[in-house]
């Protein structure tokens, strides 16, 4: 079995964590196909006038940029792990 050096392994685990965290945050906050929202709107109706009006309240809904950022971070860490693996392998020869 091929041995993987500690730094390389840490970077790869970090890459997986980045990807999973970004995806999980996005899915569990509603899998919104749009930009991140930090407030949400619900509609209420005024009984006397019949006007429907928006009530805005704080609430985080992760947008599509969250899993994309997670994937980008994962790719960066993955690439870095490949570099460290090569350099460490050369140094050990």
């Amino acid at each position: 079995m091929k041995s993987v050096f500690p730094l390389t392994r840490t970077l790869r685990l970090g890459a997986v964590a980045f990807f999973v965290a970004g995806l999980a945050l996005w899915i569990f906050s509603g899998a919104r196909i749009g930009w991140t929202q930090t407030s949400t709107v619900r509609t209420e109706r005024d009984e006397i006038t019949g006007i429907e009006y928006p009530v805005r309240s704080s609430g985080f809904v992760a947008g599509i940029e969250v899993p994309l950022a997670g994937t980008a971070g994962a790719l960066a860490l993955g690439g870095l792990s490949l570099l460290t693996q090569r350099r460490t392998a050369r140094g050990s020869v």
């Binding site: 196909i33 749009g34 930009w35 991140t36 929202q37 930090t38 407030s39 949400t40 709107v41 005024d46 006397i48 006038t49 019949g50 006007i51 429907e52 009006y53 928006p54 805005r56 809904v61 947008g63 599509i64």
Partner: protein, 210 residues
């Protein structure tokens, strides 16, 4: 004797006539809304999603006579800084000098000039209102469809105080404007944000009676 008998009748008749005149006179409806119900909503198409936002900073006065709605006039003002979208970065961009420049142009106003094509639809009066819309310091004359709902003696119910007497006037309108007409990134970023802005207003004004 005759004159003393007639005097109360004359006085009563004069008072009735005065009451009719007062009732038929245009009422001034104040659209400042402490309940935060009055709102404007806007929508722009964009590649990833439609950008939708809300605004609640509405004030103004409309003079409306239920007996002569064609004579309606008034002015509605919207605080540009109250325009909000769910994404804070987008809200900042929207208010910045690149877009609405709310620091220099803090209000968006519509001043009604004339009403045409007045018709009744159920309990509502509907008219094409021509007026001057000012956005980002640019004034254009536009015509928008507006529905008027006159709610007599409903002010007390709205403020949860039966002792308060007065009427309500509800205005609703949906229309579109082109952002380039008002100098909002004219001819720019059309691949990222649509040229057309859909606007929707639902507002209620109050005319208290003493």
């Amino acid at each position: 004797m005759k004159s003393t008998l007639l005097s109360p009748v004359r006085i009563a008749a004069a008072l009735s006539a005065f009451a009719l005149v007062v009732q038929a006179a245009p009422q001034s409806f104040d659209f400042k809304d402490p309940k935060g119900v009055n709102n404007a909503q806007f929508k722009l198409d964009a590649p990833l999603e439609s950008i939708t936002g809300t605004a609640t900073g509405i004030s103004g006065t409309v003079h409306f006579d239920p007996a002569d709605p064609a004579a309606t006039s008034g002015r509605i003002t919207l605080e540009a800084a109250s325009l909000t979208v769910g994404n804070p970065m987008m809200s900042d961009h929207l208010r910045s000098d690149q877009w609405l420049d709310v620091a220099t142009h803090p209000t968006i106003t519509f001043e009604a000039v004339s009403l045409d094509n007045l018709r009744r639809q159920g309990a509502q009066l509907v008219a094409d209102v021509t007026g001057k819309l000012t956005v980002k310091g640019v004034t254009k004359e536009i015509t928008v469809p507006v529905s008027f709902t006159y709610l007599a003696d409903k002010l007390g119910a709205r403020v949860n105080n039966p002792k308060v007497k007065g009427d309500l006037l509800v205005l609703r309108t949906d229309f579109e404007i082109n952002r380039s007409d008002f100098g909002i990134k004219a001819g720019q970023m059309t691949d990222k944000v649509a040229e057309t802005i859909r606007l929707s207003l639902s507002i209620a004004g109050a005319a208290p009676r003493t």
